[in-house]
């Protein structure tokens, strides 16, 4: 009975806790590759400036309007 209740407890814990793998060398190599944005993602092909003044100067030179993507946090970064 004791072992059965222990098994149930273990199963309940497993339901609420998705365990991370052991960080082996193989997993390390895999994660370095996997946790990267896709290089060919469409938004990355757009030549974003990160300075509004640089964009203004280009707009004068190239006779184009400025498109501003303004977010909370830099949109190329964390948001």
């Amino acid at each position: 009975m004791r072992s059965l209740s222990g098994l149930v407890l273990t199963m309940l814990l497993a339901i609420n806790c998705l365990q991370a793998d052991e960080l082996t060398q193989e997993r390390f190599d895999q994660l370095l590759q996997e946790v990267q944005p896709a290089k060919d993602a469409m938004w990355r092909t757009i030549p974003w400036n990160i300075s509004l003044l640089d964009a203004q100067r280009q707009a004068v030179e190239q006779r184009k309007p400025i498109f501003i993507w303004a977010m909370d946090g830099n949109p190329l970064g964390c948001t």
């Binding site: 365990q19 793998d21 370095l32 303004a70």
Partner: protein
Amino acid sequence: MLDRESTFAHPAIAELLKTEFVPVAIDQANQRRQKDTEGVFYRKIAAQSPRNDFEQTTQGFYVADANGRLFFYNNNRDPEKLLRLMRKSLSDFDSNSSAQAAPLTAESVDSRFQQQPPEGGLVLRVHTKVLDGYPPTDDPWRKIFQQAIGRDNLWISDQEHEQLRQGRLAESLLQRIARFHLVDNTRGEPPMWKQDEIRQLECELVDGRLRGKVQLQTADGQRGYEAQLLGELWVRDGSVVRFDLVCLGEFWGQGRFTGGAPEGRFPLAVTFTLADGSDMADAVPPQGARGWLAGYCQQCAQ
């Protein structure tokens, strides 16, 4: 996050931005406060939009000319709507008027918001991913969040860089990694860790091999991260040529702007690798340094 995978994943929008516009991506929390040339120009544009209270967020999409005349403001992610507005702005745009505008030079620079990486230091790209734990969904917006990879940069001071060259890991650098970079930023701006939320932080660097463990937890226990660290540091001819670090463990909880986290504990990976300046986001200041570079770098002096 959503904009990258929806609005700017639209081929027609991307093509227009590449050919007909000068695109710029900014953290408006800076520009709406900046007391300098860039801040004045941004507020001139934003003041013509409904987002003209600079005590509040002014986030969204703006199209303006080089004089600062606003053509439209939009904060809706519907790509088709944005495309219509972009096309209309092109028909309203007067290229002659824009060409006559004076190119702006930075007559003043508000150093609180114009942050540069430490001279002689290093920049590492930081990527974050929730590996499991989300419930299945058919909602395309939720799917974007569930598959998202967060991006930030880690700044390393010249003193810390020098220690790395000598095969040592500065305590200040380790503390900065833990406080500002072991966060779940895959669904928005994350809360950083306070100093006293670092419950355990151990890491040793031996013969270029880095290994450690970390335990982070808020006082109420509602948010935390327990993880292992593994890394490789290669120094060749006195230069750091490789600094890869992986943090893998169980995260739980969420922040005010990172709602929708998986229930309970879930696996979260954070990876670090040297930035070489080839990625457009390499120049973006760390989120933890936002308006507080001294605080972010404070650990440098300790």
